[in-house]
Structure formats: structure tokens, C-alpha cells
Chain length 215, copies 3
Amino acid sequence: MSDQLSLLPFDLMLAIYLIAIAAEAMSGALAAGRRDMDIFGVAVIAFVTALGGGTLRDVILGNYPIGWTQHPVYVYLVIAAGLLTTLVAPYLHHLRRAFLLLDALGLVAFSLIGCQVALLLGYPTVVVIMSGMLTGISGGILRDLLCNQVPVVFQRELYASVSLVVCALFLMFGAIGLPVDANSALCFAGGLSLRLLAIRHGWQLPTFSYHRRWD
Amino acid sequence: MSDQLSLLPFDLMLAIYLIAIAAEAMSGALAAGRRDMDIFGVAVIAFVTALGGGTLRDVILGNYPIGWTQHPVYVYLVIAAGLLTTLVAPYLHHLRRAFLLLDALGLVAFSLIGCQVALLLGYPTVVVIMSGMLTGISGGILRDLLCNQVPVVFQRELYASVSLVVCALFLMFGAIGLPVDANSALCFAGGLSLRLLAIRHGWQLPTFSYHRRWD
Amino acid sequence: MSDQLSLLPFDLMLAIYLIAIAAEAMSGALAAGRRDMDIFGVAVIAFVTALGGGTLRDVILGNYPIGWTQHPVYVYLVIAAGLLTTLVAPYLHHLRRAFLLLDALGLVAFSLIGCQVALLLGYPTVVVIMSGMLTGISGGILRDLLCNQVPVVFQRELYASVSLVVCALFLMFGAIGLPVDANSALCFAGGLSLRLLAIRHGWQLPTFSYHRRWD
């Protein structure tokens, strides 16, 4: 991570990243609770939700060693956040708005980090965008796989699309020469606004339903 | 990919490969439609079905960089094929036979390419065969995982077995000195015939049912 | 594998490893039978259950080439064990205790091997423990994913926790200077006892249930 944090002032970006993985870990813990898992399962799902997207990105891009293996503190943080969630869960629905905000923050932060990693490795544009989206949304997809449900990121309000928009904006602003700080700040603001507006107004992509049986 | 296309005349093999990934992308899009995903989910499932098998093979064999990251056109093609499917879906069942033919073509082409990749990397025979099968069938397995269903490749007419037969023939013919062009053409013809006959006559492997509960 | 077998006298450790992967392959075959898969599916699930955990570990740690690609005999063994299971399945419930013992042996052996691999690669402590657990439990998780069920390792008697305890003991005993032979033997005895006691007495971790809907 450390060398990929240059896209915003270091301390701010690191803080956002830590908040984001903690928020993702909490969403993983809640999903595990819906499947009545034991606390070990909670810790594993929290870990996979928070750090699985970055892991998948690093494996696909061949970016070894994988981030969290060099930063044990991330591992402790997400496991602690997951276990803490089991204690505070009865009160969490009061915090729904805060939680959605943190999750949106994470989505945007993960997406920007994923773009940056692929850019540093010299991959072509479409791979940079896919790396951003992979980092942004695949933790949630892995969480849903392990909890045996169809990934919600493809069925609800704009989520994966926010990641796409953030990545595309980041590359476009970069191409027209915007300094990286201003670029990141703009993408953050744009992505966050889009996600929050989508939640508020229930914006969704058109869905594709196909239930004809061929055989 | 480009360096793995030498097993048939280049243009023909590339054409077959492009048709194959487009056909796989379409099968992915239809599966996403059965889960009422949004168009973003359709694109993702199309991508994973078409290019996920090769990705998994490359990750397991340590064959970096992964194919599609160097050929953005493959990415555009499979996403376009997936999205196009949502438009033409109402008419697709008229094309069932053409679709099954393309899918069978893809199965055989993917299997031969997977063998070839592992051969070039110097892996032992059993790994070459597994690489061929991984490339041939795991895109469909990933598709079914993401759509939350038991992989159909293990429950219907001969499918995975066709991949195995193609890989085994390719290695055997190679071992007895058949030139690679003739070898590939023979394997294509054999694999395609076997798959189409299996569909026509409903050939299946014996299944294993075990429903005794121990506890 | 061969270079990771130094933690116990070589022949003994290898024998335990081979028994363990055969036992895991059998558990995979039975799970495939519960989904009425064909014998090809049985072979694939057996393979993934037995060797998938080590594969995932090697991919995440960047430990190429992956173990089984260099030892074809492991591949033949697990596929044979899987297929054999379909023949002896009607009699297997008489062997339930032997089977659970072999599975527990495998869990402990896999965990110790996973720790050792990460230690040799120089990863930090928390990664060593996670590598042990990944090797110990993720084959079973992949099996459950492919069979479309919530991973049982998070819902039954102590299982993943046994792996954690074994890994932690191994590192602790190593840190206080216990020779590696004695260390491994102790961890084996401890882990095996814990698992068998947990099965006998139904010891479970506390579970986390969360069924409140937010929306």
C-alpha cells in the first residue's frame, strides 16, 4: 500500500483507507451473521470482504508480495472490526447512514487505489479501469459467494457503476493534465456524491431478466 | 495469446478463439439474466465466463502477465457480446443450435490452447491436461458460482469429458509425431463431434448420488 | 512439497500428508455425491478439496511453481481416492470414526505445512498463521462453494479454530527454542486431541446471528 498512497496527501489517504477496510469488514461480519456463522467465520468473512478485493487484484496483476502480507496491522484491524461488529450489532441499524457513508468512502478509495496500482505497473487503460473496479467491488462479491448469495452489487442501487465512473474520471482528468491531488479530490467528491444520490433516489441500472428455458 | 496460436494456421485459430470467447460471453450474459442482474452484472459475468478460465490457468501456472491484460480488444469484445445479448435475447432461442455449436467450438479451442500454454511452460503431462481442462471448463464454473448455482458442467451431457478427451488426444498424437497442424485439426474434429453427438443423444457420465446423512 | 517436509521425519510426514489428501479427496467426493454430480465432477471436487487449499496458499504467497504441478502423483492419488469413494460409499458410514480421524489428521498436517511454507518464504508472523489456516481449511471452503452451500467449517464443531491453535502453538514452541521434531509432534498431539474432543463433546464457538433487515 504505502507506495500507492501518493495520490492524496499521505496521511489523509491512509486514514480513508483504514476507515474503508474497517467499514468493509463490518459489512462482511453482518453478512456472516445472516448465515449464523461462528465468530471464526465472522473473522474470515470480515477479512475477505475488506482485503479480498485487493488480494484478487494483486494476484491478477502479478503484483507480489500482496499488500496485507507486508502490513500485518491491516489484518489485525479488519479482524478486530469484524469481531467488534458482533458486539455492537444490536445498535448498528441506528448508524445505517454513517455505515453507508463509510461504505461509499471505501468504494471510491478502493477504486482509486486500484487504478493507481495498475498505472504504476504500466498496464493499458482498460486494465487500469478494471483494476480499479476489481479493488472496489470484488471484496463484496467474495463476501456474497462465501455467504452463498447472488452478489448484491449487481442487483441494487448504482454501486459497481460508481466504481467505473470514478476510475474513468481519474484517467480522464489525468490525461488532460490535472495535478494528481486535485484529480483525486474531484473523483472522491464526484464518486461519493453519485453513490449517495443513487441510494437516496434509488437509482438503478436497467436490469436484464431472462427466464426462458431452452430445454 | 498470440504466441500460443501456432497450433493451427494463425488467422484461423485466432478467428475461432474470438468466436469462442464471444459465445462464452453470451452464455454468461444469459445466466446473469436468469438472476435478474443489472447490465453491469451482465458485463461482469460475460467477462468472467469468457476470460476467467484462461485467467485461472495463468494464475495457477504462474504465466504472467495474464493474457487479456495485454490484449484489451478481448475485453471489449466479450463485454460487447454480453451487452448485445441483452438486446437479442428474445430471439436467441431460435438460434439454440448455432449457439451450442459455437459453445462446443469454444470448449475445444480453449482446451487446445490451455494444453499448448502448459506445454510451452514445460509442465509435466498431467498438468498439461489439467491446464487444457481448466481453460476449457472453468469459465463456466466461475459463471455458475457467481450466479449461485451448482456448476452445470458436472450434471449434464458430456462436457468436461470432451475437454479431457481433446487434451489426451492432442498429447497422444503429438507423442507419435503427428505434425501440429494435422493434430489440432483432428482434435478439433474429434472433440466437436463427440460434444455434438453427446448433446444429440443425451450421453451422460454415470452420476454419483449420496444422500445418507451421518449425523 | 518435498522441501517443506523437514518438520517431521521425512517419511512419516510424507505418509501423513498422503493420507490427509486422500481423506480430503474422499470428503470432496461425498459432497459431490450430495449434489448428484457425474463422476467427472466427483474427480474435480475431490481434487479441489484435497489440493485447492495449498494452491490458494501458493498463489497468495507467490510460491511458484505450485506444489502439485511438480508432483503428478498427488494428482493421481486424489482423483483415484475420489473415484474409489463412489464405489465404497455404501459402506462408508461404518467407517465414520476412521474418516473423522483421518480428516483431523489432515487438518493438523495441512496447517503445519502451511506455516512452514510461509516461514521459509520469510513472511511475518500473522501471515505465517494465516498461511497455515489457509492450507488447513480453504480446501473445504472451496468444496462447499462449488457444491453451493455455506462453508460448514464456520458452522460446526471447532475446526478452523483447531487450525489456528496448531499454528499458534507451532510458532510459540518454535520461539522458545523447542526443536522442530518435538514441536511438530506436540502440535500434532495437541491439535488432534482438541479436534477429537470437540467432535465428541460438540464443542462449538459462539455463533453470531444477525437477521435484522435494514431496508
